[in-house]
């Protein structure tokens, strides 16, 4: 299987590449693809420019988190009860995102829907992080047959397309927001497992870990004190990336109708409901979609930033 790794970049690297143009550094941090030829001068210029997009990304994510925590502060209308006389009104100062077929304020519904995406994304990342890191760390520290067996399981998880894998989990767990979140989390287990295994392998070779073993440290002590803290940045960068991917996947499954039932203002479901009014009310599908795109873009940007910081 070592030939496999040498020919193809690991999934973490490929996933990291999806994060952004400058993700070469993220992939390098993941220990699979390195050596992007960024000269000193363009590197310095680039470092100052993205700062603005990083700040904007954090601000946007902060705003969406605030929507999720305190939706009543941002959406002034009722997310479930509409005013029939104002139905299907276009965007205006009174209704920023317009209104839907029953006269509900779409912006308010998007604000109230933030919690489903964010909570789902958090659950998904937790599932992938905990299960994946456990598999990767076990495989990397114990090695031998266990390593072989666990990595075969990871190979299988990678061989099944993410959407089909999450649909298989959903048919098992039933429809609903929680099962969608868990199902999306399962698809990221493989990436976390490969990353943490390669991180463990990398840190194990360092001199201070050898010194810790040499001075009588037990393997779990060394693991907790040295290996895990030193793998943190790479894992965090992947977590931020997977968070964006999870929001995308959750909205897709919501759109397909496997998530929360109507009238829940889940983002994917909002877009699905607006589909029947493409000719008359463009805002019903376009505007919630833009919110999804911006949120995912921001999460990806933060991921790249975390990975680059570890380089510096």
């Amino acid at each position: 299987m070592s030939t496999d790794l040498s020919l193809a970049p690991g999934p973490s690297a490929v996933l990291a590449e999806e994060a952004g143009v400058e993700a070469g550094d993220a992939a390098g941090a993941a220990g699979t693809v390195g050596g992007v030829a960024a000269g000193g001068a363009p590197g310095r210029r680039r470092r100052r420019l993205p700062a603005l997009t990083v700040v904007a990304s954090f601000a946007l994510l902060g705003l969406v988190v605030a929507w999720a925590l305190l939706p009543a502060l941002f959406g002034h209308a009722d997310p479930y009860a509409g005013v029939p006389s104002e139905k299907l009104a276009g965007p205006s100062p009174a209704h920023w995102f317009g209104t839907d077929t029953t006269g509900r304020d779409l912006f308010t519904r998007v604000v109230y829907g933030a919690r489903y995406s964010l909570l789902g994304g958090a659950v998904a990342v937790t599932v992938g992080l905990v299960a994946g890191t456990a598999i990767g760390v076990l495989a990397g520290t114990i090695g031998g047959i266990l390593d072989e067996a666990l990595m075969r399981v990871v190979d299988v998880l990678l061989a099944i397309p993410a959407l089909l894998l999450s649909l298989s989990v959903i048919i098992l767990l039933g429809f609903g927001t929680t099962s969608v979140a868990i199902a999306v989390g399962v698809t990221s287990v493989a990436a976390f497992a490969r990353l943490s295994r390669s991180e463990v392998a990398r840190v194990r070779r360092t001199e201070y870990v050898e010194a810790a073993f040499g001075s009588g440290g037990r393997w779990w002590q060394v693991l907790l004190r040295h290996v895990l803290p030193n793998s943190l940045t790479a894992v965090l960068a992947l977590a931020a990336l997977q968070f964006g991917t999870a929001i995308l996947a959750i909205s897709t499954l919501g759109f397909l109708g496997y998530g929360a039932p109507p009238p829940t203002p889940e983002w994917g479901l909002l877009i699905a409901e607006g589909r029947n009014y493409l000719a008359t009310a463009w805002w019903l599908t376009t505007l919630p979609g833009i919110v999804v795109v911006l949120t995912v873009l921001a999460a990806n940007r933060v991921s790249v930033w975390i990975a680059r910081r570890s380089e510096a």
Partner: protein, 311 residues
């Protein structure tokens, strides 16, 4: 030769494991689909009749026996019968797979053209602000939900501009928007990997020599750089395939096309395990075959890999 044998054996191992996982995962379902279909009071079947039906489906046998039967069938391309409609799974999938494969192949071709165009434009354009903007396009593309992109494209090209008819478009006309929807997100990782390896190759010493001999940037890109950049792009073929299959399922739903996507959605709605199982196993098989092909092809395309493969 041992390299090839090793790769094939490893590919078969992954495939068998994928089948086993799909079997275990889906066989563990709470109520099996046969029961859901035949226990409904409308049919008015007696418990004995239901038991006979279960027997004919093999649902009463032990897990290991069922696994053996399913595996032996799958090897011969027989995935049993749909629990919801009773039709052979092979026939169901056979009818749907053509349109999905057509969509996926056209999507991949369009994505490749798009990715190469983006990478070349970002490298050759003399205006740095425009090149920079093009460079950041792939990170935008990966953040766009496929289903939403499809809807927006319909919105723009069918409803605003009226270029593509929504009601009964011709066979070719009906393919344009789905293919475009599928191609945009697939092109993003491809463009990123191309851009990265173009940057690496352009910084290589031999390129400096060719440049010093008077080659233009365009000539350099076409004759020296792109070939070097192709190998890394080849290695993500498996990942792209997964995205292609998932994207095709979603695209078919958005554009109400008949295909694997429709069958998957129906299987989910009726808890039709044999159908979903077959689709998952076929997708994994496609992934394994593509990766095996890449592993075997890469040393041929890139002579530097031959030494490593031989070792």
């Amino acid at each position: 030769m041992s390299y090839v044998a090793g790769r094939v054996a490893s590919a078969l191992g992954v495939l068998l494991a994928a089948f086993t996982l799909a079997f275990l995962l889906l066989q563990a379902l709470p109520g099996d689909a046969v029961m859901i279909r035949f226990e409904s009071p409308e049919l008015g079947l007696s418990p004995e009749q239901i038991a006979t039906i279960r027997e004919s489906y093999g649902a009463d046998a032990g897990l290991l026996t069922q696994y053996g039967h399913a595996l032996a069938g799958a090897v011969q391309g027989d995935f049993g019968f749909s629990a919801a409609t009773g039709a052979p799974v092979r026939v169901l999938i056979g009818e749907a797979i053509g349109s999905t494969v057509l969509l996926a192949v056209l999507g991949l071709l369009t994505a490749t053209v798009l990715a190469v165009a983006l990478a070349v434009a970002a490298t050759l354009l003399p205006w740095s602000w425009l090149a920079g903007a093009i460079r950041s396009l792939p990170s935008l593309f990966v953040s766009v939900p496929v289903f939403w992109l499809g809807i927006v494209l319909v919105q723009i090209f069918s409803f605003r501009l009226g270029w593509i008819s929504v009601i009964r478009p011709g066979p070719l006309e009906g393919l344009i928007l789905p293919v475009l929807t599928l191609a945009v997100p697939i092109s993003a990782p491809l463009a990123q990997i191309l851009l990265r390896s173009i940057d690496t190759a352009r910084a290589a010493p031999f390129v400096g020599v060719v440049r010093a001999k008077g080659a233009s940037e365009g000539w350099l890109l076409a004759n020296n750089v792109l070939r070097n950049a192709a190998v890394p792009a080849l290695t993500i073929a498996g990942v792209l395939l997964g995205e292609l299959i998932g994207g095709a399922v979603v695209t078919e739903t958005v554009f109400a096309r008949y295909g694997i996507g429709r069958i998957t959605a129906d299987a989910l709605a009726t808890q039709d395990v044999p159908v979903l199982q077959a689709i998952v196993v076929l997708a994994a098989a496609a992934f394994v075959v593509v990766n095996l092909g890449v592993d075997l092809l890469a040393p041929i395309v890139d002579p530097r890999l031959r030494r490593r493969a031989a070792a």
